[in-house]
């Protein structure tokens, strides 16, 4: 875990939103999914997922309900609300703009003087 960089502040929420846009899932599933989707680039400090989920619930982006897993165990499932979907697309745009900007800075070769 220590060999992989920690997540940027606030990025976790975006990743959660993205994961949930694929369908409702429980916390552990989400952690797996994010790691999988990022191809292991960064691991979620798994415990920190839960405070983030609690915050997002208060913001109205996600809802939760208890259901049984395929292995017949009780788990809390989270799902995206319409508001959460809007938030995801907002954050995606924001992220892309930021990433583009950062890329331009990094690719700067020095034009003019």
């Amino acid at each position: 875990m220590s060999d992989r960089p920690d997540l940027l502040q606030g990025t976790l929420e975006m990743l959660v939103l993205k994961a949930l846009s694929l369908g409702p899932m429980h916390g552990w599933g989400m952690a797996q999914r994010i790691e999988q989707m990022s191809r292991g680039t960064f691991g979620v400090h798994q415990g920190s997922l839960y405070p983030a989920l609690q915050r997002m619930k208060r913001k109205g982006w996600i809802t939760s309900s208890w259901a049984t897993t395929e292995n017949n165990r009780r788990a809390r499932y989270y799902a995206l609300t319409p508001q959460g979907e809007r938030q995801l697309s907002l954050e995606r745009d924001e992220w892309e703009r930021t990433a583009r900007g950062v890329n331009w800075v990094l690719q700067w070769e020095g034009g003019g003087a």
Partner: protein, 895 residues
């Protein structure tokens, strides 16, 4: 919406905290077991897998705390535990808690009860009215001409018509006359109800619903006298007709007129003022019902009939200035064609509630003053509780210090102490509501309508605000001090070191209490002295023993001979009732609002340059009956009947005016018709002055004529029966009423009122002021005395070792007492001076409410200074003596 989801989520978390905790636990355990299983599937031994899962998860407890923080309910949870802690603590010291809560209940209750009355009288919107905030009342300002109302008053129907025609800013305009007594029925069952003549637009503009039937049609408000219809209140419908729907279309006998009931107002509407109205009639019926003079011309074209109140509906978006401007232009335009009135009238807008009246009434001023007074009482109460809390803080210093050294944050300690104050404040607030309800009922006894003592949402809001404010006010300083306690200081053996900052603070509190009490006492003394002046007034009649019996004989259609027969019979019948000392008649009677000034001159002389004289036609034995002394000559007697020489009695004022013309007794004067012929009325007596208004200083000249000599003198003015009773007149009033009421099957409602009723309104502000000021000042005095007693008790407890040492070193008990008293009297003297200076500076504003005394007479201040010093001294002396009598060895051993 995210705001609501946030609130909902937080609320859920608070309400279902235990459940949330359990679910969080379960969720995290589920996570760990899933991760462990995944690692086991990857080939790790189970134990290693579990360890790895925990590491990947991060600190379990730490993450739980993070989740709890993320719920955003931590402060609420702490608040909950603070409240529980506060309740536990308060229950451990029941004496302290009871004292504090009672003190607060009295303070909050007194203030809220006055507010309840102010709210009911001036602030509360009437029920059953649609969107009352969009309604405005119009006040007409006239500075010249016959009718002068510089502060704004009712207008004429001409004004109403003009505004209705040319002020489009109003979405609706309605007019009404002030409510009046109406007679319902005749004979034994006759009764009195409140009624009001209104424009056809009245209910539609107010947006009042009908319980049954209909409101007036527009044509029913058109031609005068041709539409005898009425709408009755739900209350009258229930009480008189048992809610029978058949009442619609039935005729009611109102003021002798038969009116058809066309509708019943919705139950929630009982008029727009605090007095309930039972019946509404269209303006067109006003003359027939005797509400306006039955002149030959239409009263609605008479600019002098300024008895029309106007209210309009203005959509919320319309600027009020525009509305006022349009109305002003309309009435000025109308005034150009009506030269009797001020050519440039103006219109002021006010709210529907009486507080919107641009000219404040005496009652409103008095109420606001009382509110200020009760706030002072509340402040004294707060100071007291703060003082109590400081004493207790001493006892709890150890506890606070322990908590602080165990790591309780300073802000948390502050919050905890403040919570404790709030819990007490709420206890006081709830108890205060009961005090308020009781207090408002008592206040309502002062001739306020019964609706005055109701708790509505604004009263509750007021009480809540007061509670919060007091909780903060008396709690903030003790709480701040608790937050300041240094663990080391607090834990040291309290070696009796007085904490000077605290002593100073308590001294200041006591000083302030004394100051506020002094202000209230000055007010109370002023009002009491003023009331004594009021009672010392000799009105020239025995107001407290007289009943006034009025019958509208003209309205009942009695012919002149019938009237005279009626009066003769009535005098005889009433005179036979046991407990009656005398009966006579008078056209107007003492303190009457109606007076009559007729033509008058002394034979052989030009009319006198005097006001009046006002004339009254009285029966035999009038002066003896009402208790007015005959100073010279005789009164009106049985011998003064038709056919004998006309006689008159003059009052002292008229006698003084006549004196220069010769001997008043036996003087020959011309009265009324006689001024145009050569008739003569002989003055046979001079009577003591009767005040025209109870408190009017100057008494106008008055002339009393014998009714029996000229019964037709004033055909329009009925004659009142004046009944002198041996005891309390109100006891016998019912008997008198039924005796007269049953004399004739067509008898209109007989009104029987104590003569005092006529001066009641005049005396009311003085009585209310004196009673409530005395009550509240007494309350403040009691609280301040308790505060003083408490402060000394505290400082004695603090100084006990020092006192013990002093005594064991040979100080006599008396020295110790003197030492303690000197110290404790300092804040008392300081507060007394401060309070008296404040009262001296502010007393002027009270002067308008005082009778015949000024606010700055030294006597008032001397009385208060002596009284307060004595009470203060006693409150100090008692605990000081006790302290001095304690055996020094006992106190020293305790160390």
């Amino acid at each position: 919406m995210s705001f609501f989801s946030d609130i909902r989520e937080r609320l859920h978390m608070v309400l279902f905290r235990a459940e949330a905790e359990r679910e969080m636990d379960e969720e995290m355990r589920f996570h760990l077991s899933m991760e462990t299983e995944r690692l086991v599937r990857e080939g790790l031994p189970r134990e290693e897998a579990a360890r790895r899962a925990r590491i990947t998860f991060g600190g379990l407890e730490w993450n739980k705390e993070e989740v709890r923080d993320a719920r955003g309910t931590r402060w609420l949870e702490e608040f909950g535990s603070d409240v529980r802690y506060a309740v536990r603590t308060l229950r451990r010291t029941p004496a302290f808690t009871t004292a504090a809560i009672l003190t607060l209940a009295l303070g909050i209750g007194a203030t809220t009860s006055i507010f309840t009355v102010v709210n009911a009288l001036f602030l509360r919107s009437p029920e059953g009215v649609h969107q009352p905030s969009d309604l405005v009342r119009l006040y007409f300002v006239r500075n010249e001409g016959m009718i002068q109302v510089p502060n704004g008053g009712p207008g004429s129907y001409i004004d109403f018509r003009a505004i209705r025609a040319s002020a489009p800013a109003f979405s609706g305009l309605a007019a009404f006359m002030s409510d009046r007594d109406f007679d319902l029925g005749r004979g034994v069952g006759a009764q009195r109800i409140r009624g009001r003549a209104v424009s056809q637009s009245f209910f539609p503009v107010l947006g009042v619903d009908m319980a049954a039937g209909r409101w007036f049609f527009p044509q029913e408000d058109s031609t005068v006298g041709t539409h005898p219809v009425a709408v009755i209140s739900n209350a009258l419908w229930q009480s008189e007709f048992g809610g029978d729907p058949g009442v619609l279309g039935r005729a009611l006998l109102v003021n002798g007129q038969s009116l058809t009931v066309v509708g019943i107002a919705a139950a929630d509407f009982s008029g727009i003022e605090i007095d309930h109205v039972d019946i509404w009639v269209p303006f067109s019926m006003a003359p027939a019902l005797g509400l306006v003079d039955q002149g030959s011309s239409d009263w609605r074209d008479n600019p002098a009939m300024a008895t029309v109140n106007v209210l309009g509906r203005v959509p919320g978006s319309t600027p009020r200035e525009l509305v006022a401007q349009q109305a002003g232009i309309a009435v000025r335009h109308a005034a150009e064609r009506t030269p009797q009135l001020d050519p440039t009238p103006d219109v002021l807008l006010g709210a529907l509630v009486p507080a919107g009246d641009p000219g404040r009434s005496q009652a409103e001023k008095l109420s606001l003053w009382l509110l200020v007074v009760t706030v002072l009482v509340l402040l004294v109460a707060c100071a007291n509780v703060a003082s109590l809390m400081l004493s207790r803080a001493l006892a709890r210093e150890r506890e606070t210090a322990v908590r602080s050294s165990l790591g309780a944050a300073r802000s948390r300690l502050f919050r905890q102490h403040l919570t404790e104050s709030m819990v007490m404040a709420f206890g006081g607030g709830i108890a205060g509501l009961f005090v308020a309800l009781w207090g408002a009922r008592v206040a309502a006894q002062f001739s306020l309508p019964s609706g005055a003592a109701t708790l509505d949402s604004s009263v509750l809001l007021f009480a809540l605000t007061l509670t919060l404010a007091t909780g903060i006010l008396f709690g903030i300083i003790p709480a701040w001090q608790a937050g300041r306690v240094q663990p080391a200081d607090g834990l040291k053996e309290a070696a009796g070191g007085a904490r000077p900052y605290r002593a100073r603070f308590r001294g200041a509190l006591v000083g302030l209490q004394v100051a506020m009490t002094a202000v209230l006492l000055v007010g109370a003394v002023l009002f009491l002295r003023s009331l004594r002046q009021v009672y010392a007034v000799d009105p020239g009649v025995d107001a407290g023993k007289i009943l006034v019996v009025s019958v509208d004989v003209a309205g009942a259609g009695f012919s002149l001979p019938e009237r005279n027969r009626f009066y003769t019979d009535a005098l005889r019948r009433v005179g036979q009732i046991p407990g009656i000392e005398g009966v006579s008649t008078s056209a107007f009677g003492p303190f009457s609002a109606n007076r009559y000034g007729g033509a008058f001159h002394v034979r052989g002389h030009a009319p006198l340059p005097i006001n009046g004289p006002y004339m009254d036609w009285v029966g035999a034995g009038y002066f003896q009956t009402v208790g007015t002394a005959i100073l010279r000559g005789s009164g009106i007697t049985e011998q003064h009947v038709r056919g004998t020489e006309f006689v008159a009695v003059v009052n002292e004022s008229l006698a003084t005016a006549l004196m220069p013309l010769g001997d008043v007794l036996g003087m020959c004067v011309a009265v009324g018709e006689q001024t145009r012929s050569d008739g003569c009325t002989r003055i046979v007596g001079i009577a003591e002055n009767q005040r025209s208004g109870y408190l009017d200083a100057d008494v106008d000249p008055a002339l009393y004529l014998a009714r029996a000599q000229d019964p037709e003198a004033l055909p329009w003015a009925g004659t009142d029966l004046l009944v002198r009773t041996s005891g309390d007149p109100s006891v016998i009033a019912g008997e008198v009423r039924s005796a007269v009421q049953s004399m004739h099957p067509g008898m209109p409602f007989v009104s029987v009122q104590p003569l005092e009723q006529r001066i009641r309104d005049e005396l009311l502000p003085y009585r209310v002021g004196a009673t409530l000021f005395t009550l509240f000042a007494g309350l403040a005095l009691l609280l301040a005395a308790v505060g003083l007693y408490g402060m000394l008790g505290y400082s004695i407890a603090e100084r006990r070792p020092e006192l013990g040492i002093r005594k064991s070193l040979g100080a006599a008990g008396g020295d110790v007492v003197r030492f303690l008293i000197l110290r404790a009297m300092r804040p008392v003297i300081f507060g007394l001076v401060l309070g008296l200076v404040a009262a001296y500076a502010g007393g002027r504003v009270l002067e308008a409410m005082l009778y015949d005394i000024t606010a700055r007479e030294p006597a008032t201040f001397i009385i208060v200074a002596i009284f307060l010093s004595v009470v203060g001294f006693i409150a100090i002396y008692l605990p000081a003596r006790q302290a001095a009598n304690v055996d020094p060895m006992v106190t020293l051993r305790a160390e």
